[in-house]
Amino acid sequence: MEYGIKPFSIATCFVLVALLWTFPLQRVIAYPFVFLFFGAVMGSAWFGGALAGFVAVVQSSLVITYFFIPPVFSITVAKESQSFLAAFILCAIAISIVSSSRKRAESAVRTARDQLEAKVRERTAELEHSNLEIQESERQLRMLTEAIPQQIWRADVSGRIEYCNQHLRDYVGERESSIEGDSFFNILHPEDAVLFRQGWESALVAGGRFEVKVRVRGADRAFRWFLVRSIPQRAEDGAITRWYGIHIDIEEQHKAQQSLVIAQDNLSRLWRTLSMAEMAASIAHELNQPLTAVVTHAYACREWLSTNPANLEKASATAEKIVQESTRASSVVKRVRALFRKEGTERQTVDLNPLIQELARLLRDEAIRRGVGIRVVLDRNLPKIEGDSVQIQQVLLNLATNAMDAMTAVTGSREVTIHSERRGADEVLITVDDVGPGISPEIVSRIFEPFFSTKEQGTGMGLAICRSVVEAHDGRIWVENRNPAGARFRFTLRVTA
């Protein structure tokens, strides 16, 4: 409701207009003509509110009483006209109330509508703003994916590429610049595509991220190694809807690793022959030193004798030196010969089972690299033997590496089995089995001979040394062929008394 001068002025205006129109009309109409004042009340209440309506009612009543109800030009009301005035006032009040409340209702509706409209505008503006923000962040994200010096893609569940960054485009080349939509597997090396699909499918089931190392074809049609790391995006029900992937170039690492493997290969080959070669070199050196001394002393001796007069004292001292050095040389020879003989070896009580287990551990990397399984079957009640553990391990190592070598051409499962068991009362039997082609009958008899080798780079000393070692331990070594395929090397050792 409005207060102040406004309701009064509105009411006064309406009532004045009604009065001015009523005067001429009153001339032609016999009854007091009050209808226009209803209009004035209605208008006042409509435009000025309830107060203006009420003011108009009061003003209209006074004006009518004064001008139109007899006695006219007085505010007294004749008795017979009182009911008429009362009826007018009641009607006017009613009109005023109805009109003003209608007006209120209408303006309430309008306000509500206006508010609604304002809200809608506000929301629209907000939406536009957040749309811009989304676009901006999308742009930033895209720039980021372009800035990362790795190849990035997004693919649907079936592996169709939906997006890939410039790096990936550049890498796969102009020809496949529309790689999007292409099946992702097309740019992988065929051999790796299978692996990748497996990883993809198992990740679909397990529902996790996955990583594979694969070769990806470049613009020059050459393949480089990449680490492909993929993360699934899920819908609310947990189903995978998309894949995001990043390719990390690992070509250099891969190359380095390859050369490491080759280096290891060379190393292990070296390692196998090292003991022998080393032994030979050290024997040569050990012998050479006293021999050099002998030779130089001998030259000196001749010089002392050839002077005039001969320096017999010096010559005799030199001859003594020659004797000493020759003795030293011969003691080296003795020591070498004793190396594989009973008296030369370190004898101790040896438990063969841990020795075999240690050997299997030692060979593990090499075996994995060659795709060979090493199985160890040990007799838990194996008695201890007496011998040189280092030499026995050399024999085992030699037989096991021979077994692995023998299976290079085997396409099926490759396995080396090492058994330990008790044999009779005072012997232990060790068996090394392979599944290679076996030993052909014509060479069985020669296989333990020195310098006999079937290998291109073999020294022919491995099995000869094995035999020397085993025989120095009062044991026996022999070879059999297995049924259906493979060789079986066996040796016995004496149990501690």
């Binding site: 030779v295 030259y299 000196a300 002392w304 030199t318």
Partner: protein, 208 residues
């Protein structure tokens, strides 16, 4: 100065002894050292002769020792000996200036020949050294200005050019030049140039 000596460096005492005995029998003095370090400790540059060095020694190996000596500017000739020389090692030490590479056990003649060759080289080296040090002494006796003039003279500049380069009169340059020739005991320009080359005295390379 002591007589030319063979310094035997080998970790095997019996080898040292044998070599020493053999060289002694032909009248060549020797000294024995079990390691490169032991030799180095007793070394002074008044010594003459050569070294008979085992290529494989405990501590610094013979090859490393050769490099070490070279870096120190010690030009004592080295004869290498080894029980098992590999080709790359031989190539390396020979390239580095070794006299000979003997494989144990070696013939007396091989050894004596190498020693004689080494002594010869050492003699030349010491002669050269003494000549160079004489020349250097002469160079040091000159004044700075005279050395400057000498550098220009040996670079082939005329007196007139030297005068303009040093802002001197030609007469003054001539006087300096005379003093240089006298101080260096050079009979001719060619002799002066040779001396400067020997002593590695840098000639003038244009205005700095």
């Amino acid at each position: 100065m002591k007589a030319e000596t063979v310094f035997i460096v080998d970790d095997d005492a019996s080898i040292c002894e044998g070599l020493s005995n053999l060289l002694d029998s032909v009248g060549i003095p020797t000294e024995q050292y079990p390691s490169a370090e032991a030799f180095w400790e007793s070394w002074n540059d008044q010594r003459a002769g050569c070294m008979l060095l085992d290529a494989r020694l405990p501590g610094a190996s013979g090859v490393e020792f050769q490099e070490h000596l070279k870096n120190l500017g010690i030009g004592l000739p080295i004869i290498f000996m080894t029980a098992h020389g590999d080709i790359p090692m031989v190539r390396k030490v020979m390239k580095a200036g070794a006299i000979e590479f003997l494989t144990k056990p070696f013939q007396k003649q091989e050894l004596l020949h190498a020693v004689a060759q080494a002594f010869e080289q050492d003699r030349t080296r010491r002669q050269e050294d003494s000549i160079v040090s004489t020349i250097n002494a002469r160079i040091n006796s000159l004044t700075d200005r005279e050395r400057e003039v000498m550098a220009m003279v040996t670079a082939g500049l005329l007196n007139k050019q030297i005068a303009s380069e040093l802002s001197l009169s030609e007469i003054t340059v001539k006087i300096h030049r005379r003093r240089v020739m006298d101080g260096m005991l050079a009979g001719s320009l060619a002799e002066l140039v040779k001396m400067c080359e020997r002593a590695r005295f840098p000639s003038w390379r244009g205005p700095s």
